[in-house]
Structures are given as C-alpha cells and as structure tokens.
Amino acid sequence: MFVTRGFRVLIALSVALAVATWSARAPHAQAPLTLKQQLLAGGALPLTLPAEHSRLAALPRPHVAPGRILVKTVDGAAPATLQSLASRLGAQGISSPANADFSIVTLPADADVVAAAAELAAQPDIVYATPDPVAILAYVPNDPYYKYQWGLQRIGMERAWDINPGANAEMIVAVIDSGMAYLDQGAYRQAPDLAGATFISPHDFIWDDDTPVDLDGHGTHVAGTIGERSGNGVGAAGMAFNVAFMPIKVVGGPWDEAMGAPNVGTASLVAIAIRYAADHGAKVINLSLGFDQDVPSVKDAILYAIDKGVFVAAAAGNSGDADSPPFYPAAYAPSVEGLVAVGAVDFNFNRAYYSNSNDYVEIAAPGGDITADENHDGYGDGILQQTIDQQLASEGVFDQFGYFFFQGTSMSTPHVSGLAALLMNQGVTDPKAVEWAIEHFATDVGEPGRDNDTGFGVINPRNTLRGLGVSR
C-alpha cells in the first residue's frame, strides 16, 4: 500500500516542526543532534508517523532520485570537461564520493533527470550517464508470530552443517540493506539472536555515519537468514551462523526519512557500498535489493568487488511476471561470473508467485509464500527470522524483537549468501568458482536444465559443500 503525497508532506512538516522545536531547546553552544543521534542517545523521538503509515508498505518514493545523475567520464578527461557539460544542463554541483569511480551531478529537484542523463551520455567524454534509481527492497513481510523455518530444512541444511558447522568469524558477509539491529546503544537494541556475533566496519550511507542501525527490519531479517546465531537456545537458525557481519545501510526506512536522513537509498549508494564492502574485507555481499534500470556504476562496482575476491548474491526481483522488466543488479548476472541472480521458490520448490521469471535468473532458494500452508503447520509458508517488532517499530520503538515470516527474493537471496559463506570458508576463494559450484550442485526443478523460473535449480548446500571426488 502506498501512502499519498499528502502524507509525505505531512511527514516532512512534522519532521521540520519537530526539529525546529527541538533545536530551539538545544543548548545554543552545541551543534544540534540529529534525530538518529537522539535515538541512539536514548531519547524519545519527538515525532510519530501517521497512524495509517506502516513500515510494511513502502513510502511513495520517486522512481529515480530527484535531481541526481551518475556520470563516469573517460579516463584522462579533465574535471573541467564534466564541469562544463554539467553547467550547460543547469547542474548545481558535482561530487565524487569516496569508494566510487563515478561522479554525481546534482540538478534542480524538478529537473528531468532522464532527459538530462541522456543528453549528457551523448557527449564524447562520457562513458555513461544515468539517473540514480531508488533502490527497492524486495520483501513482503507478514504477521509477526510464526516460528518455523521450513526453508532451511527443505534444502537440507542439517546435513550441510555436518560438513561445515556455520563457518567462522573470518568469513565476513556484507549485508547491504536497510541496516541491521546489531547495536545496543541508547534506545536501540541488538537483536537477541545476533548476540555474540562479530560486526566488522559497519557503515550507514543514509546518515553518513558508522552506526547503520536498522529502523525498518528488512536488513535484520536478511542478516538472520545468513547467519543468525544457532545452537544458542534462542530463536531461530541461520545458514552460516558463525560468520561476521558487515552491516551497511543504503536504504532508509520511513523513520530515517522522517528523522531527516540526508540521503535516500539510491543506486549510487549501492555502488558505493559495494566498493566499501570489498575494500573493508567482505567475502560475500548480499544484495536483497535492486532497481528496474541498468546502472553501469553498480555493475562496475560488482566487477570491482568480484575482482577482489568477493562473491555477490542479488535478488531477482518480486514482480512475478515473466514480462516484467529486468531487475538490476541481478540482471547483470549472466554476464558477470561471481554474481548470481536469485529467484524464490515456495515450500514445494515451485517458483514463488512473485519471483521474477527471466533469462537472468540463475539459481533459486526458499523465498516463501505466505498465502499457502503446504507444510500444514498452521502458518503461511514465509521465511521466518527474528527482526525488529514490526508493530512497535512503526511506533518508534526499536528495542523489541519478534520472529516474522517474510517472503520475497529478498529472503531467498540470503540463503545463497549464507551458502557462499560456508563454501568460501571451506576454501573456495574464487567467487567465480563459488557461483559455479552453487549452480552445478543445484537441485534441478521445473523444466530440465536451466529455466527462467528457477535458473539451474534450488540450492543444495550439502552437495555443494561436499564437492567432487574423482568418480563422483
């Protein structure tokens, strides 16, 4: 459900009013705390979301970030060249983010960025120029009280753990998402089932700081599937339950937006985050997100990461229609070894109704179907993980957790990332070989051989981790 533009205005006004009020009360000699800082300092948030607003529905975000174009110039091009070109389009500024090989041209918010990007791309010294699409999280969350993880059982994780009991903390998995409930600070709490995990180089690209707390729940749920602590008597299990996490926030939730986060989740942030993760020791990157436009800077970032030995798993998208447009960066997968596009299957290993069917789909994993109860446990067959209590989060409470069934290719993708972490932990250090192994040992479903619904099939962790002998 999308809220109306009126709500956005209301949120913005509320935030502005709250900030103005709070600022008036703040000590005049100190820089004002952001609302996020206030949250992490333990203070109550001086604002609420509208009652109708739920984090279960995405905000009515624009298709592309207003006034932003991603530009890459040819090697050796003088900075003045881009400056000159951009100024002709009425650019207000040009920035070159760290961890990026492209620049961001800022235009007036009401500029036609599609047309401007096309005009810029036609210039001789430009490699590419694209709008900056808003990243979309691929999930469909659900009622918060379900507790059964049929997905891990159906793909045979119990036997896979016999071979590799959860990897170890030297295996760093970057979760580039909405953040992660990894931190006990102020009014914010770490997810109990992540207690004891190691967190490496966290970063928040929405707030430009190093506390990528999840105010949404998506990233924490995804992280749980990858490596929720297991065997600890708490909650549920994860695929590779001893890995270290690198929480990276590139998608803001409604609270981030309401609190006045300086950035919104766009493809440029995803590209920057991928390079950041590769530069800070990640071995696996999980991208349970995407956008419906080809953004070369993201593809370049993925190639950069793979070149540094990082495996990347990307959600195939939740449009559920064979005629739907490609979902990026998953759609790059056929041309990029070391990147896999992950579709979703239901309890019976059929393509989930929402999972994209397209020629870029390479592998499938349980993504759930909350509309069905094929295992007759009385609950819809979503993917269960712990995350922020969805109801309380909508009220600005971030210290309560529950177990929630979500569905989507966002949920299938971390299964693949977890498997990749286990496999790399066993010694397969080349992301291309990781992709080969995951696809080679997949359980073929649907039409024989690769197909657009489930790619090479559903992941088979136990067979993948066993590898090959001379004869079999």
Binding site: D430, W436, A437, G467, L468
Partner: protein
C-alpha cells in the same frame, strides 16, 4: 663300497637327480685298444655333471675316475660318450666341463665351434662351470612395486595431489621355453580431499576422499634370447580393476565400488641375480577406458580412463 651321489644343487637337477641318482660301485674302464684310438678323459672330481643341450638337461653326475670317450671339444666343454651304465636310453652323449676331467689317453679330441647357446662362456674367464641354458619349463612367484602415471592425471592430481601413485603386489609366472604367462595382483591406496574445480583451478574442501585401486592382470608374452644373465620380454594381457572411492559425509550409495576392465601392454628386462632369484624392470601401459567421468571431477577435465603408464620392479623366485 656304495656311495650315494649328492643331488646336484640346481633347479633343473632337483627333479632330474631323482631320476638319475646313481651309485658308484666301481670306476668303469675302457679297453686299452680302444683307448689307443680314441681320446679318453677321466673325471677328476666327484659329482662331475654331464649335460644335454637344447633343451638343457642333466644326464648324469659321475664319481671320480670314470673314463669317458671324448668325441669333440667345444670351447671349455668336452662332448663325451657316457658309459652304458650312466646313459639314459637315447641319450648316450653329453657335455662335461673341462675342469671336471683330464685327458688321460689318445689325442686331443677335435675342436668344434661352440654352439650358440654356449657361446657366452668366454674362454679363460670361467674357472667354474657356468649354469647351462635355462630349463624349458619354469615356475616363479614374484613381488612387484610399480609407479603409475595416471591417464586421468588431472583428476587424480586435483583430489590426491599427485598425478600418479605407487602400486604394490605380487603374482605368479610360468615359462614355457620362450613363452610366458603371468597373473598379477596389485594395490594402490591414497587419501586426498574432495574439491571444487573451475577452469583448471582446484579448491580443496577439507573433506577426506580415499581412493583404492586393485588391478588383477592376466598377461602373456614372449621371452627373447638371453644375453648374459638378462632376458628381454614383451607381452600383453587383460586387466580387471576394482576401483573404490570413499569420502567423508557420504551416503552409502555415494561411495564408489566398481570393477572396470581393460588391457595392458608390457615389456621389460629380467636379470638373473642368482640361480633362483630374478629381478625385472618392466614398463607397462594400461588402458581402462570409459571408467570415470560425470558426475566426478574427471568430467571437469574430460578424463575417462583409469589406466596409465607405469614402470615396475619385480623380484621373482623360481627356476
């Protein structure tokens, strides 16, 4: 006085002596008239052996002071006529080494060119009798140690870390003149790791994988004319290989235990280090096609043959 004659300590003599064991009751003599016209040699030692050639056979062992008619001399050997007492039917003549007799009357017997089979007994070198040509029928047992370079060397190298391996075993061999038949069994065992392979790059997974290969080979061939103590040989045969591969975390049906059949081509040189002990160096090529492949790592290297090229060292005991 009756004296038992010791059995000549040679493999051939073992069974011949049981037939030919004789006693020396008294030294036989030849008449003076006959002695004046013929060459007579007299045994100077007990156990002087008289041999038949081609095929080699011990005809008799004579006591000291037995006079023999020397018909001719070939190299270091006298061709002599055995007294009737010692002769087997139809085998009245034989060869005795010159060191076992002395010419006691008559002219030296005419020299004859030594037969080819005894041409290696070089003049002046031998002070003791050299073993005569090998017996026609022989039986041997042997132990073997072989190193094989596998045809599926990339696959084995990926899993075991070696492109070949040591086989050990043994077998038996029978020889009929120039022909031989051989039955051998060997064992190979090694443990490596299961792997992931992409574009020739191998990633071990730390999961143990043990491979055992046990070929049973039946072969036959031809032994060439001896040169000194060496005999070259060549042959071919049939091999049946039991291939087993067992890995950690395998279901019972996921381990391999199969038998594959193929062929072997071999050649080598045998050297007699002792009358009953022989050492052979052998080269072999074994082909066992269509034995491996998918779903194993062999498929990634397009390798299907479990054979290989090997060199072997055999130590045989027998006649």
């Amino acid at each position: 006085m009756i004296r038992p004659v010791p059995i000549l300590a040679s493999a051939a003599g073992l069974w011949l002596a049981s037939v030919l064991q004789v006693t020396a009751q008294q030294a036989p003599t030849i008449s003076a008239g006959a002695a004046a016209q013929t060459s007579i040699v007299r045994t100077t030692t007990d156990h002087a052996a008289v041999w038949r050639r081609s095929p080699s056979q011990l005809l008799a062992t004579l006591p000291i002071d037995v006079d023999l008619e020397a018909i001719a001399k070939e190299g270091q050997w006298y061709l002599v006529r055995l007294p009737e007492k010692y002769a087997l039917p139809g085998l009245e003549t034989g060869y005795v080494f010159e060191g076992r007799v002395r010419l006691v009357s008559g002219p030296p017997p005419p020299n004859r060119a030594p037969a080819t089979s005894s041409s290696h007994y070089t003049e002046g070198k031998e002070t003791q009798p050299v073993a005569p040509p090998a017996p026609f029928f022989r039986v041997r047992g042997y132990g073997s140690l072989a190193y094989e370079w596998f045809l599926a060397n990339d696959s084995f190298n990926a899993v075991l870390g070696h492109r070949g391996g040591l086989f050990y075993g043994g077998g038996g061999q029978v020889i009929f003149g120039h022909l031989f038949a051989d039955v051998g069994f060997e064992h190979f065992g090694n443990t490596g790791q299961r792997v992931i392979v992409l574009d020739g790059d191998v990633f071990p997974l730390g999961i143990s994988d043990t491979i055992t290969m046990e070929p049973v080979t039946v072969s036959g061939g031809y032994r060439f004319r001896p040169k000194g103590k060496s005999v070259a040989y060549a042959g071919a045969g049939y091999t049946s290989l039991r291939f087993r591969e067992r890995a950690e975390f395998a279901d019972p049906g996921e381990n391999t235990d199969e038998r594959f059949n193929g062929f072997v081509i071999l050649g080598g040189v045998e050297y007699a280090v002792h009358r009953w002990v022989f050492v052979s160096g052998e080269a072999r090529f074994t082909g066992i096609p269509n034995a491996i492949g998918a779903p194993g790592v062999a498929a990634e290297f397009n390798e299907t043959n479990l054979g290989g090229f090997s060199v072997a060292l055999k130590v045989s005991v027998g006649n």
